[in-house]
Subunit: 514 residues, 2 copies
């Protein structure tokens, strides 16, 4: 952040005199507008009530903790000019599966601590659909809302305690989630999100008092939720675009968030085009779902030994293997393909696989780790059914990328100056593997850049950069959201993309088809 | 009010479709902006939470209860389109001595009931000065604030009960008071109001949630307090200007509010000039203070019998006389003067008064009612000291009127198309008497118009007319407030005005000096 240019600033208020005998609030507003920019200012009554004596005892200097809504600047609190009290903001990524939170010092931008925990709504339903269905039962919405708010309160309290702060030190919360998670966080009826014509209750929530949401933080704390584009394009992606600076790029870049769905944005300072993979049925329950989540013993990297042509792997914390994660799965498919163990149609080759390919309940199954080496006592395998699912997912991903970059934006993949991969799962994908199987386009590896949790990144950015407030609304207004029409043309493109790496191998010059 | 053009309106929201699949809140905002005017809209979270199901069960029609703040339109609540629930507003005149309240149906403008009661802060101090001093003691401000809020809550509750409504039916409160009363109502530190350079804590309070003020009404009710110009020119006068339409007049008019002080505004649609009598020390503890407040037996009218030249009077409810009220005092002075019982210097004439003039503790005292006819057993009298005080007051009033109309606005009294007399005390003044003693200028009696409680009138107007919101801020911004400089010129003018009716009798051609 730019020092002294955040939401907390030291300001000086003009002293009153017979020639300048306007009210204390008016002189305060004038100083705030001079410092932050013109516009109406809202000040909580409790701050107004003690303003006269505070200004005088502070010699007409103060440290102002500010935020904004759509229409006004808002004073959250005024502190003594030399106050050393911690002034914290909390950034929250409200994931469907996992919630991440970070505490940030609003004056310096320094991170004070962070914490992650499972979204407690998972007890009620693992995915958005199940939770929204549950929310329409009597009391269901309230229960889902209470679960997430309670868990966030407990974790904020725990995090503050751990880092040596009070929960009342949190003045500002910025949070991003998909449209459903945003609705459930606010306790807004969300049933129409999943029914044609797919109507969210709200797209652009305005800044809200934390107490209205039941957050147990500073009594005047404000909460900002990143806006949605629609039912299938949430605030987490707007936060990601903000974090990637896509809206400021001179030349076109692309960001893909690979989570439960894949959401893609391509653009620059001149345009932003987005689509969400939920519209592509092949991606539903996509790649990431097949794999396990990261824990000790999970296979996270797979490669072919250049000499022996054997398939080697690495497990987390070098434990005995217990399973394979999503990114490991992509590595595995790539290793199987480049070693000729699967053919360009994505089918296991009996000759190349040899004794590692068995038939199990009538389905060809590749044994990656036999039971003697496995940490579970069971072999770790990949069946043709699993592989077909992965093939569909990678084909859907490539097709959607092609539709948005080529057919919609009218660009070539080589025009992209940066290809950002966001999302927890996306962070671990090896681009070389993903290119090898034709999941990602064949562009130089240096163009790919891992963003990590970009939703969290965007939420943190807003805590430290007042400029981000307008950028968010501008991003929201300027995005063209493409509904993926799964028409005949799409299905033709999809069919080609189901080959390894593609029916048109010339698209993947760097991939040596065995 | 213009039917259907108040704060409560029935609106229709566009139904969603695949072609118009914006969020429910967005389509609601669009309808509200179409109905009320462009601008940001704020909607309470609880309204958003149930908006999707409500809109659908109401077939996308609703009755919207709205208000505004400086920056936004605010939804207070949404009701079913055919709801017959009462939607009430409360107008409050927060007088230093007395508080008046009225309940108004926001849909029709019809008054549902009204009530008046003494300001309970009078227990702590009779006037502004005493209360502000008390407010600076530890806990003093909170106590004063609690007293007035508690009494208002009790009276609102009682009024609602009496009229057959619930206190939750009150969605909007508009209140006007002087600067000190406004501060104490809000619980804002007000000590600097009375200390040079006379700085109010706040001049233009923004619309506030009723619950922040401790008002026990609808949970999302909003409260609007009329803005002050400064420490000595309060929201009650802005409300009065609004009520008198001074800001819309084609030709100059004048409004004077005669209460504890006298505040004067002269102007039209082109200009507004104001001054407050508190700056003129002669008016402090002025006319109205000398008299009793109205109650049975109080002398409220005095006149000279044209034949017998005797002084006659009327008492409230025709009871035996017990005292004399402020307006009766002006009548009495006029009767004494036109009958020659006091001379042009304002001194009792022994010859004209005869046996009715006695000497009491060395001071000449006129006996209006002797002990045999008095309801108290004591004679009702007017001493030379009382009369001198009245003379100073009437002279100060005339001088201030002259300064503001002639010296400041550059007008003649005859240029005034209307001379509005506001305030409870002002309502009872007989203009003929006031002209006779040289308190009010000698203009046709038809030019004078009694406004009554214009502060309450303005507060009621805002409850029924959304246009009034902008007018109030425009009035506030366009007023030129004149600090009365009590300089040599003023003192010379004041000396002339202490004569009956004036040293320059040609200013009062209609007054026959005996």
């Amino acid at each position: 952040m730019i020092p002294g240019k955040g939401w907390v600033r030291r300001i000086e208020v003009e002293k009153p005199s017979l020639r300048n005998n306007t009210a204390d609030v008016e002189r305060l507003e004038k100083s705030l507008m001079h410092e932050f920019g013109d516009g109406p200012v809202r000040i909580p009554l409790t701050v107004v009530q003690t303003l006269p004596s505070n200004l005088r005892s502070w010699e007409f200097k103060t440290k102002a903790v500010m935020f904004r809504d759509k229409a006004s600047w808002i004073v959250i609190d005024l502190l003594a000019p030399d106050s050393e009290k911690a002034v914290l903001g909390a950034a929250i990524d409200i994931g469907t599966t996992r919630i991440e939170m970070a505490l940030i010092h609003l004056e310096t931008g320094v991170e004070a601590g962070k914490i992650g925990f499972d979204n407690p709504q998972a007890l009620i339903g693992p995915d958005v659909l199940a939770r929204i269905h549950y929310s329409s039962r009597p009391g269901g919405l309230e229960e889902l809302n209470r679960l997430v708010i309670k868990e966030i309160n407990q974790n904020l309290s725990f995090l503050c305690q751990t880092c040596g702060y009070e929960k009342e030190d949190i003045y500002l919360v910025t949070a991003a989630g998909n449209t459903a998670m945003t609705h459930l966080f606010m306790g807004v009826e969300s049933f129409d999100i999943i029914k044609e014509p797919y109507i969210p209750g709200i797209n652009i929530p305005d800044t809200m008092p934390g107490r209205d949401l039941g957050l147990d933080i500073h009594e005047h704390a404000l909460v900002y939720l990143f806006p949605n584009i629609g039912s299938y394009f949430g605030g987490d992606l707007i936060a990601g675009i903000l974090f990637s600076d896509l809206d400021k790029k001179e030349e076109p870049c692309l960001m893909v968030d690979v989570g439960t769905n894949a959401e893609i944005v391509v653009g620059s300072k001149d345009f932003l085009i987005a689509c969400a993979g939920a519209a592509g049925p092949a991606l539903e329950g996509g790649v990431s779902k097949m794999g396990m989540t990261a824990k000790p013993g999970v296979i996270d990297r797979v490669w072919v030994d250049p000499e022996s042509r054997e398939i080697l792997f690495h497990t987390i914390e070098d434990q005995k293997p217990v399973g394979i994660c999503g990114s490991g799965m992509i590595d595995l498919a790539a290793a199987l393909f480049v070693s000729g163990r699967i053919d360009i149609r994505g089918k296991f080759s009996e000759s190349a696989c040899g004794k590692n390919l068995i038939e199990k309940e009538g389905i060809k199954t590749f044994i990656l780790v036999d039971e003697t080496l496995s940490g579970t006592g069971e072999p770790i395998t990949l069946s043709q059914v699993d592989l077909n699912s992965l093939t569909s997912s990678k084909a859907a991903m490539y097709t959607i990328l092609e539709v948005i970059v080529k057919n919609t934006a009218g660009l070539e993949f080589t025009d992209l100056k940066k290809f950002y991969v966001a999302g927890t799962f996306g962070s671990f994908i090896n681009p070389v593997s993903a290119i090898s199987i034709g999941m990602l386009p064949d562009i130089p590896v240096s163009v790919f850049e891992v963003l990590g949790n970009s939703s969290m990144g965007g939420a943190k950015l807003l805590l430290t950069s007042p400029d981000a407030f307008d950028r968010i609304l501008n991003i929201r207004q300027s995005i063209t959201y493409i509904e993926l029409n799964v028409n005949q043309e799409f299905m033709n493109m999809f069919s080609g993309a189901k080959f390894y790496p593609h029916t048109d191998a010339s698209r993947f010059p760097s991939v040596r088809v065995p």
